[in-house]
Amino acid sequence: MEYRNTLKYKKRIVIKIGTSTLSYLNGRLNFQLVEKLAKVLSEIKQRGIQIVLVSSGSIGIGAGRLGLTAKPDKLSKKQALAAIGQAELIKIYQKFFENNNQIVAQVLLTKDIVTIPGRQKNAKNTLKKLLSMGIIPIINENDTIATNEIEFGDNDTLSAHVAELISADLLIMLSDINGLYSADPKTESSARIIHTVHEITPQIEKIATDSGTSFSTGGMSTKIAAVKISSKANINTVITNGSDPAVVFKILDGEKIGTLFLAKSGKLIKNKVVNKD
């Protein structure tokens, strides 16, 4: 349990929320969820914790805006929908965060922040400046100029890179799965959540691949790949179900929610405050 206790003292958190959590099965946005998310994150920020939100959802919202029922396959169509949807998405976030007196900013990133040192420094400076101003940056990939081949491709990976970029001390991925299961919970009744993962071993990777892949763009495998990045950067990661955003409060209270992937060095365990417990 002491691992979980360290989560009580996190000061800079990246929260990633996926399309399937933000929207209904028909692809339309779940306003109630966005409202709750804004409320929860604004309150956490009030406690003096810095928050960065990485949000997907622009393509689905763009499709909804145009009244489309099927998801597009063509890249250019997806990019066009993303351009429409991102504008809508940030408008909706602004509205709900404003209800909580919280100012937000929009930051659209490309893989340049990983591959080009100048860009990396720049993005880092901007994000840190926003945090110091008490603003919650809302990040997405800049889809309109990105391609599948050369870009992040999914926001799980993006969120891990962002966490590394700003030296976050916790990454929370909110998705439609409860965590990493020992087997596919849909077929195996004996499947249970693994609450703590000390290291991503080939066995963990195999479990992730086997335990279901039907979750929007980023399945468990994508998430594990992202965790490798955050873990290597000494950042703990929690993967859990985000259908009730208040789950973030519980995670920060040290409750055994979802799967906690420990940072590679285990350095965070040496946290002074924790030693007092």
Binding site: G62, A80, Q86, Q106, D112, T144
Partner: protein
Amino acid sequence: MKDKKKRIVVRIEIATISDSNEKLDRKKMDRLAMVLSNLQNSGKQLILVASGAIALGAEKLKLDQQPGSFIEKQATAAVGQAELIKHYQRYFDEYNQIVAQVLLPSDIIDNPVRMQNARNTFDTLFDMNIIPIVNENDAVSTTDIELDDNYPLALNVAKIVQADIILIKLDTNGKFLILPKGQKKAILVNDVYDLFEKINTLPASPNSVNLYKSDYPASINEILY
């Protein structure tokens, strides 16, 4: 055959949509949305290059003065861009016109893959009858942001979409300055109705390699004021 005068890049400065106190002017914004939605309705493909993120961000953050340092500008731009696109959506929505947000890096013209990507996105948006609203991706820009100088961006966008006309300066009090492709001089247009007339009667643009004059027309301010 493609209508030779179909694609128009409209460059909007913050002054175009703000009042004398540098606050967003609702009447001007509404007028702008009406005029541009109407142009779009008439069969033109419009693309807006709109600056003002820093000014709107400073207003939102209740800053006493414009942000000074590069990093402050970037942070303010990230707040303001969200505001900017929100306002455009609201006003265009009144005229039943859907808009999209496209943020481009300043060096887009040097990156063929990204440029092709942006072009594909724009083409698709045009097909869907949507007006793209373009700005520089200031929040992650590595070169200092020039306050409200989006003319170079407008030129780049015109190159990417192979626009036929750049509407350089738009003054909601009724005067417009248009630069047709391949022409060296901008044309002054006196009012909205004149704008339609001028755009529709322009001679077909020559297949010139040097498509747009890269500097401001020398007499831009003289012509306008």
